[in-house]
């Protein structure tokens, strides 16, 4: 080995990209969007031939697959980006008198059985870290595939249920009354700031004024809620080994609630862009979006020159737009994202989102101007429809 090769051998470890699990998640999201766009372009290129083939196949399959099929209806989950825009196009699964029972099988192996004829289930979010459904009425039984990376969450009007691989039922016969029964594994149920952990055989009922927990293996009893004080939280996370793990490890394993609590106890605050991004994910996915914005703003302010700066600005915009309903601030965040990476892979989405946010904030002239710009820059973009609606009919 020559002297130069020896020196290079010593130096080569310096040549690495600084990536966290959060960076990978963000990259995966971008990848999904890009893959779908490419797929759409190919479909468009196929044109009439593809359309005709699809129509023929649809006609061919439609009558042969009426509800008698013993197989569950595997649902073609929409792509991540489209699922994220559930305000515009929510994905719903419902039963009625004609179809009193229905099985929905998600492609990750999880299943939901809608067990009553008035059940309404809606897909709220599908992200690498989160699959969220809301049960608006009726009753559904869930079987969740074990996936430490993805949290499975079900909401009713009164409760929030989070699991990582188990079987349980949720019923919401009417507003103000919900129940959860666990068949297998462990489930965390949240009522406001109260958190309950249910084991197999336990049933939690919210009757509009109080929580009642029944344990099939013991006599019926009423349990007081564990308040979200730090000490109580520690006892709620019964496995001491898990509680002792650093918050970053917990977050990378998908235990965002535990990671959030561990992060509060950590004396050293996140400082590197990767840590700040991960902290933002932890805060957001454990139900603290406001706190997530603090971390993201720090990344934007202190690490603008890093790739994470643009991602942070974009994520900040999304949280302000969708979770905190602050369209004006969201528009400014999307503008920052565009400015930081004008030719980046998220520039198109940032521009469209900014236009939508200005429209929602009441600044129609700004919204129109940006929509015009979008249509000029991305004439075949995937948001041309909504941008045209913002522009309005041509004179």
């Amino acid at each position: 080995m020559s002297e130069l090769e020896r020196q290079v051998d010593q130096a080569r470890d310096s040549l690495q990209v600084d990536l966290s699990a959060a960076d990978t998640s963000q990259a995966l999201l971008r990848f999904e969007g890009r893959r779908r766009r490419r797929q759409r372009r190919r479909v468009a290129a196929g044109g009439i031939v593809t359309g005709a083939a699809l129509a023929l196949l649809t006609v061919a399959f439609w009558p042969s697959s009426e509800p008698k099929s013993p197989r569950p209806a595997l649902v073609d989950l929409p792509p991540l980006e489209e699922v994220e825009s559930t305000d515009d196009a929510p994905v719903r699964f419902a039963t009625d008198d004609e179809t009193p029972k229905r099985t929905v099988a998600f492609v990750d192996g999880s299943m939901a059985v809608l067990v009553r004829p008035d059940t309404q289930l809606r897909l709220e979010a599908l992200e690498p870290e989160l699959l969220e459904l809301s049960l608006n009425s009726g009753e559904a039984r869930f079987t969740v595939a074990k996936n430490p990376q993805r949290l499975f969450r079900v909401r009713t009007a009164d409760l929030r249920i989070e699991v990582l691989g188990t079987r349980f039922s949720v019923s919401a016969p009417r507003a103000g009354r919900s129940a959860v029964k666990v068949h297998e594994g462990r489930v965390a149920v949240f009522r406001g700031t109260d958190r309950y952990e249910l084991s197999p055989g336990m049933r939690l009922t919210w009757d509009g004024g109080r929580v009642v927990i029944d344990d099939a293996s013991k006599d019926k009893r009423r349990t007081r809620p564990k308040k979200r004080r730090r000490r109580a939280r520690r006892s709620a996370h019964s496995a001491p080994a898990q509680a002792a793990q650093p918050w970053t490890t917990l977050a990378e394993n998908g235990a965002f609630d535990d990671a959030y609590h561990a992060m509060q106890d950590e004396p050293r605050r996140p400082s590197s862009p990767a840590e700040l991004m991960l902290a933002a994910d932890v805060a957001r996915l454990s139900g603290h979006p406001r706190e997530a914005t603090t971390y993201l703003r720090r990344v934007v302010k202190e690490h603008q020159d890093r790739p994470q700066g643009m991602l942070a600005a974009f994520t900040l915009g999304r949280i302000l737009q969708r979770e905190l309903n602050e369209p004006r601030a969201a528009a400014q965040a999307f503008r920052t994202a565009r400015t930081l990476a004008p030719n980046g892979s998220l520039a198109e989405d940032a521009l469209a989102n900014e236009a939508e946010c200005w429209a929602r904030a009441g600044s129609n002239s700004q919204a129109k101007e940006l929509a015009h710009r979008y249509l000029r820059q991305y004439p075949a973009g995937r948001k041309t429809g909504s941008m045209r609606r913002l522009v309005g009919p041509s004179p």
Binding site: L4, R12, Q16, D18, L28, A73, A89, V107, D108, S345
Partner: protein, 189 residues
């Protein structure tokens, strides 16, 4: 995409077969591909940085590599071969990009080497040395450059390099000798 309301779809999965044929063949390929992405994201990013020598190109490179991996994912018969498969796609995509870059350089559209930001703690002397080496590699033929980087930066075996780049073992040795002679000339050994 058609209506996003599945209640309008025929039960039995027929529609799913149409839209996501690969989903039924692989029994949960989304999770499998997702695992592949999560597992090899860092590997591909590092490979991209090392082969292309530009931090700004890495994100785009990663996306392109996984688009190709996704397209051919169903053809991987042996899970243990996934890593080699991903690496081969990454190396060949890097070769294509570097060739395009040569053309851009002829038109005066090329950009300088940009290795940062690198992992901490990075020795600044090391970074400076690597920047010099990459400056010289820019002037070499694309395959010579890639073969040398795979050998001395990635630490690959000659047989693996031959497989990844798609050439014979003797060609790999020839490219390495060419690069070595050029670098020794410049760095005065």
């Amino acid at each position: 995409m058609a209506s996003t309301d599945p209640s309008f779809r025929p039960p039995g999965g027929a529609r799913l077969r149409l839209v996501r044929g690969e989903a039924l063949d692989e029994h949960d390929p989304v999770t499998t591909f997702e695992a592949c992405f999560r597992r090899y994201h860092r590997l591909v990013a590092n490979l991209g940085l090392r082969l292309l020598g530009r931090r700004g190109d890495v994100d785009d490179f990663v996306q392109d590599v996984f688009l190709e991996v996704h397209g051919a994912f169903h053809s991987i018969r042996e899970p243990a071969a996934t890593k080699g498969f991903v690496r081969t796609i990454a190396v060949r995509l890097a070769l294509r990009r570097l060739r395009r870059r040569k053309v851009a350089a002829l038109l005066g559209l090329d950009q300088p080497v940009d290795l940062g930001p690198v992992a901490v703690p990075a020795n600044q002397e090391h970074v400076a040395l690597l920047a010099q080496v990459y400056g010289e590699l820019e002037a070499m033929p694309t395959k010579t450059r890639v073969v040398w980087i795979l050998r001395h930066i990635e630490g690959d075996k000659l047989e693996d390099i031959a497989q990844e780049v798609g050439m014979g073992l003797s060609s790999v040795k020839r490219h390495l000798a060419t690069a070595k002679a050029r670098l020794e000339e410049v760095f005065g050994e």
